[in-house]
């Protein structure tokens, strides 16, 4: 391998610095979750697990965690049903307004969540859906729909049409062809986007903020706590969330990546 030229060495240095910049805050979070002090200051005071214990005995926080899990599961399920059917229809058919529909579906992903949250709040108030976890589930499913649709559509576009023709030629009905040919090939994109949906729903704030009632999700709980002040329990629960998200995202990226 060629030795690196001077500007390439500079590039390596700069990039590694940026990478470090990305991870230092997370490292600090994890470090201080084990730190025996109510303040996040150096020098460190000693190892402790009491913040983790405090989090685990905080019934409100645990309830919020439970709510987050339920919401994420329901929203993801909804997303998959709606998203896969939409992707199939968009992939196979041409119809007037198709482009517009695609843009509308993807809009909540680029639009600041706060606008989507407000729009939904307005609407629910008008039609009488109260602020509640149900509203949150509907809100998440709607906002995250674009993820499933775009991922599944991208995968469908790579599907060789001739496989479907061959299947029909060999006597399979459309439903059978879907089940035995189409579905297995989009399986990884379904799983990958499901994992992404779950992770994003779990962490969602702007839309949730406007749609929750008395029962809150974990991010909202943490957010309200933070407005009042910092408690080191947040570091502990934060580190846990970071760890779980890492695992989920790595799984999902591995599945979504093309096998070259």
């Amino acid at each position: 391998m060629r030795a690196l030229r001077w500007w390439q060495k500079g590039m390596v240095g700069f990039s590694l610095m940026v990478l470090a910049f990305l991870y230092v805050p997370i490292a600090i979070l994890v470090i201080f979750s084990f730190n025996d002090s109510a303040v996040t200051s150096f020098p460190l005071s000693g190892f402790t697990l009491r913040w983790y214990q405090a989090f685990l005995s905080n019934s409100q926080m645990l309830a919020a965690l439970g709510n987050s899990l339920i919401v994420a599961l329901c929203a993801t399920a909804l997303c998959l049903v709606l998203g896969v059917t939409a992707a199939l229809a968009l992939d196979r058919y041409r119809f007037p307004g198709k482009g517009l529909f695609q843009n509308v579906i993807l809009l909540p992903l680029s639009l600041p969540g706060i606008v989507t949250g407000i729009a939904m709040l307005n609407f629910y108030k008008q039609i009488g859906i109260p602020q509640s976890l149900t509203a949150v589930v509907i809100g998440h499913a709607t906002a995250l729909l674009g993820i499933v649709v775009s991922q599944v559509m991208a995968r469908l576009a790579k599907l060789d049409r001739r496989l479907l023709e061959a299947s029909a030629d060999l006597g399979a009905t459309p439903v059978e062809t879907f089940r035995r040919i189409t579905l297995p090939s989009i399986r990884t994109s379904i799983i990958g986007s499901a994992l992404l949906c779950f992770t994003l729903s779990f962490d969602e704030i702007p839309v949730t903020y406007f749609l929750t009632g008395r029962e809150v999700t974990l991010p909202i709980y943490i957010y309200s706590t933070l407005r009042r002040g910092i408690t080191p329990e947040i570091n502990a629960v934060g580190s846990l969330i970071v760890a779980v998200s890492f695992v989920l995202v790595i799984l999902s990226v591995t599945m979504l990546r093309d096998r070259r």
Partner: protein, 289 residues
């Protein structure tokens, strides 16, 4: 295939559910929001109406115009910062790293933080930059400064830092994709014709990467513009952004029409930016065949 009478039944079976959902839960709410922005407020109720008073208020009342301009400024700064830090990182991943294993590993390590709790990543800057925070205490304990500085937190700079931190992966992702798609033969051809590495970058690589750059920058700008977590956690008294205004209008201030008007404004702004960037992308789009 186009929807014909024969395929109509299958098409309807497939498409009716998501289509209805999208209409009911996406299109209608946005339309409702836009229409409420024309209502007027007669305390304590909102009255259906069609008047532009809310919009006029947004553009004339300095309370609101300063916030809007400030948010624009911060979003632009975040966009610039994310590009300055993200582009070299993307370039490094695609062109300098030669081993595929390292490239995938490093790419993953850039992307993963993106999906890890947005709230927490903003929060970490709060604990780093505060007067009792990690940065100050580190500097004090190593003797760099004698007393903690309060300039790190609760100002616009800290908001920009936090948001840039959050959005770097957003920039790197589309850039890596677009840089990776540039055929290696083009770079070899440029060097073969006597053009050195720097000019090759400027004349060949950079123009062909603009599509990804615009995509990432657009996302970064739009999402920073509407962010409310950063101002609340690390912003100061002069750090109110549009999103905080929206929060209060739907909260304590209880002025839903005004809030809807502001939200509509954000919606329109984002749509314009998206439209401009897709126009740009199409104009500059070249088939890499």
């Amino acid at each position: 295939m186009t929807v014909t009478r024969r395929s109509l039944k299958a098409f309807v079976a497939l498409f009716s559910l998501p289509f209805t959902w999208a209409i009911v839960f996406m299109v209608v709410p946005y339309l409702v929001m836009i229409s409420i922005s024309f209502w007027s407020r007669q305390f304590p109720l909102f009255v259906p109406d069609f008047q532009f008073g809310n919009f006029i208020q947004l553009f004339s009342d300095p309370q609101y115009t300063t916030v809007i301009l400030r948010t624009l400024k911060i979003a632009l700064l975040v966009m610039a910062g994310a590009i300055l830090l993200g582009y070299p990182l993307a370039y490094f991943l695609v062109f300098t790293v030669t081993s595929t294993r390292w490239r995938n590993l490093l790419y993953m390590s850039v992307i993963v933080p993106l999906w890890v709790s947005y709230l927490l990543r903003a929060y970490t800057w709060k604990i780093i930059l505060g007067t009792n925070g990690a940065l100050n205490s580190l500097m004090v304990s190593t003797g760099l400064i004698s007393e903690p500085l309060s300039i790190f937190l609760y100002n616009q700079a800290s908001m920009v830092i936090t948001l840039v931190y959050i959005f770097i992966p957003f920039m790197v992702m589309p850039l890596v994709t677009v840089l990776d798609n540039i055929p290696k033969a083009l770079i070899e051809a440029s060097e073969d014709l006597g053009v050195g590495p720097f000019m090759t970058f400027w004349k060949v690589i950079f123009p062909l990467s603009l599509g990804g750059l615009v995509a990432g920058a657009t996302m970064t700008f739009c999402l920073s513009f509407g962010d409310f977590v950063a101002p609340v956690l690390v912003g100061g008294p002069d750090g109110t952004m549009v999103a905080n205004l929206l929060q209060s209008q739907f909260g304590a201030a209880l002025n839903w029409p005004l809030g809807s008007a502001l939200a509509t404004l954000v919606l329109v702004l984002v749509l314009i930016v998206l439209r401009l960037s897709s126009r740009f992308d199409r104009a500059g789009h070249v088939s890499l065949a």
